[in-house]
């Protein structure tokens, strides 16, 4: 019994770390317009809309975060193998991983923007100076929380995977959670807040993203502020719940029927969430949607 209580405590702690990681991850990727919002940021200059928004396309978020977290975990693993204290090792590993992330971000912005010279999109070097550091700070929080969570899963719950491999798996999950949950807030709504709510993005509006802010010109720090308010916490809850339920079902139900208990509970949890999601979607369409018929909503 004591073991299970200890396990649930660790599960809750890992879930809390995952929530922080998810929130920081989404804010980081939105500041860089990575993932969902990227195609429109990339398209805007081609349509004649010159902008001052950071455009760091480094693969999709899941592979990119797979690398950052695996890198942080791999370096932490190596530092621990060199007899360095785990907390210090995780901090050093995350810091080095963030260095790699920052360099990738700058090269992505320079490359993408220089290749758009035909459309008169200049390189705004102050964007690199002011925003790369902000994405790196958020990435550090995300990577540190994710690697610490993986270390906790291994050292306290006895997971058999080595740290770098677990980092890779959970890093991809982290990127996927942020990409699926948080990005639409920015990519679908904020970039197109001048369009009617729920109207979708007609071809004629492609690339016509919002480029001016309340005062002056919108840059990606404004998007970071926005993401920290809505998309970030949503991604955090999503990833936190994923980690919590994943560990909880294993800790509590694994002894039942030689491990099959945990599998069955996992399927039940997925079904319950599918029903909740469907209910929320239908309710939101009825309550907020300006369109009633679904065929009109998809125009």
């Amino acid at each position: 019994m004591e073991e299970i209580i200890f396990g649930i405590g660790i599960t809750a702690l890992a879930g809390a770390l995952a929530t922080i990681a998810g929130a920081a991850e989404d804010t980081e990727s939105d500041i860089g317009s990575q993932g969902d919002p990227n195609s429109q940021v990339q398209l805007a200059p081609q349509m004649g809309y010159i902008h001052r928004i950071f455009n760091k396309a480094i693969a999709g978020e899941p592979p990119a975060y797979g690398l950052w977290v695996a890198l942080g975990a791999g370096l932490a693993w190596a530092f621990m193998a060199m007899q360095i204290n785990p907390i210090l090792a995780i901090v050093l590993g995350s810091a080095l991983a963030v260095f790699v992330q920052g360099v990738y971000a700058t090269t992505a912005y320079l490359g993408r923007t220089a290749s758009l010279a035909k459309f008169e999109q200049p390189v705004y070097i102050d964007i690199l100076k002011s925003m790369t550091t902000v994405t790196m700070a958020h990435a550090f929080v995300a990577i540190f929380a994710a690697v610490a969570m993986c270390h906790l899963i291994i050292s306290a719950l006895g997971h058999p995977f080595p740290l770098p491999l677990l980092g890779l798996v959970w890093g991809i999950a982290l990127g996927a959670a942020g990409s699926a949950t948080g990005n639409p807030f920015y990519g679908k709504e904020r970039q197109y807040q001048e369009q009617k709510f729920g109207a979708g993005v007609p071809i004629s509006a492609s690339g016509n993203i919002v480029r001016y802010a309340e005062a002056g010109e919108r840059n990606s720090l404004d998007n970071g502020f926005f993401s920290a308010k809505l998309g970030g916490p949503a991604s955090g809850i999503c990833f936190g719940l994923i980690v919590f339920f994943e560990l909880w079902r294993t800790v509590v139900f694994e002894p039942i029927a030689a491990g099959w208990g945990a599998v069955i509970v996992g399927v039940v949890v997925i079904l319950i969430f599918a029903i909740i999601d469907r209910y929320i979607e239908v309710w939101a369409r009825k309550t907020f949607g300006p369109y009633v018929a679904p065929e009109e909503a998809s125009s």
Partner: protein, 283 residues
């Protein structure tokens, strides 16, 4: 609306880059074998350089493949390259001194099968698909083998699955502290997969220039070497690991500075804290 993928014309012909990349990386990867011949670990960094040579070639291959309108397919090309390559590299590592050659042959077979499946089963019908995926799988195999040799000082399988750990003052051998047992290969997989696709993914557009893209590929390679050099402190002696780290840092700094210069050359304008310049034709 999908972003149209365009690439710049001209530059060095692809076949020339292929030959330089293949021959150069094989020579560089065999230079790490000097470690076994001389019984030291000073030559580990050549593995990383082999990876850089392979990545430059791979970036040019991805450019050729993805100029057929594969926008979101650019990162996927990197993943399939390393996914095929890692199997071939680990299989090749079991064959001792022939490891690089065996890895390249196995990778070419896996890549060709993937290409045939993509063209005839998935029906993507891209003319260069089979050749490109074969090349990419070979690049992936060389990258993995090179970085493995750099982190562990050898590409011999038995040495890669035995690490040493100190228990109560005694040195004991264990699988968990080895390059493969510690899953450093998973990290190498991701490092090379992101590095191989980043160069073209970052530089695509109508003003893409081959020299800038390939300089970025080299930069990604040296950047990937830096964390690998840091991790190699856990596996090889201090001085060889320090040499690896210095080589990586110097190579990275040079290529990064060159890349920024080339970006400055190609950019429409290079502005610091300036407002949006609306285009002359109007939005």
């Amino acid at each position: 609306m999908a972003v149209k993928i365009e690439v710049g014309a001209g530059g060095v012909p692809h076949n020339q880059i292929l030959i330089y990349g293949l021959v150069g990386s094989i020579i560089l990867i065999y230079l790490t074998y000097l470690n076994e011949v001389t019984n030291t670990e000073y030559f580990a960094f050549f593995g990383g350089l082999a990876c850089v040579a392979a990545l430059v070639w791979g970036a040019d291959t991805i450019k050729h493949l993805c100029s057929y309108g594969l926008g979101t397919g650019v990162p996927s090309a990197g993943m399939i390259a390393l996914g095929s390559g890692v199997i071939a590299a680990l299989f090749g590592a079991t064959t001792g001194v022939f490891a690089p050659i065996v890895a390249i042959i196995v990778a070419a077979i896996i890549g060709a099968v993937c290409g045939l499946l993509a063209n005839h089963v998935v029906r993507m019908d891209i003319p260069v698909m089979v050749v490109s995926l074969t090349e990419l799988a070979v690049v992936g195999a060389i990258s993995v083998l090179g970085l493995i040799a750099m982190v562990g000082g050898t590409f011999n399988f038995m040495d890669l699955i035995t690490g040493t750990t100190v228990v109560l003052g005694f040195t004991v051998q264990s699988y968990g502290t080895s390059v493969i047992g510690g899953s450093i290969v998973a990290l190498i997989f991701m490092l090379a997969a992101i590095a191989i696709q980043h160069a073209f993914n970052a530089c695509l557009g109508p003003n893409e220039m081959q020299d800038r893209t390939l300089m970025l590929a080299a930069e990604c390679g040296f950047l990937s070497m830096i964390p690998i050099a840091v991790i190699s402190f856990a596996f090889i002696a201090f001085v060889p690991a320090l040499i690896s780290l210095l080589v990586s840092l110097i190579g990275w700094f040079y290529t990064y500075m060159r890349y920024i210069e080339l970006s400055k050359r190609d950019a429409y304008a290079w502005l610091d804290a300036q407002p949006i310049l609306e285009p002359k034709g109007g939005a």
